[in-house]
């Protein structure tokens, strides 16, 4: 089938920063994103798990965002401004999508 080049950006970020990130994405004209729950993880600041937690502190989310390659830089800048002082990971993968008109 006909596919089109795109970028898949995955941002793993603290739950508390969710609204700030999605607003930054909107301002950078990102047309869509999907948020996946995260159960736990480990990094330089140690290991964590959501089991039994009530506070939103100490939870993370994965935000997946598929965009046209030429929009990548705007997105990364917007995301970086939010995650800069926070823990979190941003990765970018090449991908192909169906229905390019959607992105």
């Amino acid at each position: 089938m006909q596919t089109h080049k795109a970028k898949r950006v995955e941002i793993i970020i603290e739950s508390m920063m969710e609204r700030r990130l999605t607003e930054a994405l909107r301002k950078a004209d990102v047309t869509g994103y999907t948020i996946l729950p995260v159960k736990g993880g480990s990094g330089r600041s140690g290991e964590w798990s959501r089991a039994g937690q009530v506070s939103r502190a100490g939870g993370m989310l994965a935000v997946v965002c598929i965009i046209k390659p030429d929009r990548l830089d705007a997105l990364l800048e917007a995301a970086f401004a939010v995650v800069e002082r926070h823990i979190g990971v941003v990765s970018v993968t090449d991908c192909e999508v169906l229905r390019a008109e959607r992105f």
Binding site: A51, G52, S55, A57
Partner: protein, 328 residues
Amino acid sequence: MDQILSLAAENLLSPIILFFVLGFAAAYAKSDLTVPEAVAKAMSLYLLFAIGFKGGASVASHGVDTALILSLVAGVVLSFVLPLVAFALLRVMSGLDVTNAAAVAAHYGSISIVTFVAGTSVLDSAGLAGEGFMVAVAAAMEAPAILAALWLIARYGDKSNSEEMDGELLREILLNGSIVLLIGSFLIGAITGADGLARIESFIVAPFQGVLCLFLLDMGLVAGRGLRSAAGVLRPGLLAFGIVMPLVGSLFGLAAGMLIGLSAGGVALFMVLSASASYIAVPAAMRVALPEANPSIYLTLSLGVTFPFNLTLGIPIYLAIARTVTGG
């Protein structure tokens, strides 16, 4: 002293404490016992709902008086002042840097609603009851401490280390879910009064202690896991702070309660609130406002040291002091 000891002993053998200990021990022994996140949140919603409503219904039947207003004002003031006290103590006792000290201080100015609930539960057993509006005081004490911490950073710290206090952040702090549910339920309890209470009493009164047991089991699990993985951050000075600060805080609460002229139960609850440290709302706010502060430090101190201390020894001590001082 005798009274404290016997109260403490009785308290230590109550189901809620024992379930906390069970959770703590299970976590330490690396059991895979866990409470799902959604279930922990459900229990926390239930506790806020129930305690808020009961407080409101009690105010509805006793009426609003100046003691209520004064207590709210005192609560807000304490929540601003206690972080300054905590900050000073921390700088002396622990050598934490300004950012971390301010973050920890915010937790001790704010309150832990479960500690409050456990306090009312001990009062019940002792045949006492605090003023119903103390729930509203609890809600009022949640947020100001966060502002105090940001002020401390602005005053003593590296300004670049804190988010500027924008409207968004302030709204998040003042309208965080637990404050909204607690105050909302309080108001609805106050509006619907005895009638409203009669309609939902068998939901919020009868099963309350049982839910509290399961919730404390979960808190034991979380505290135990936290302590196990972050015990390293607790240098002796910090550990001492986690026990000294609630005692110091309780004296501020004692003063406030006495000045306002609350009942023995009310004074005890004011002490409990001042002594307790937040582990839900403040940590979340700190991740946004002071991301450079290390969460292991403030969470471990608040949930792993001060919460168990208050639960087991603190509350009986505060109650005994409140009774002695008020003669109640």
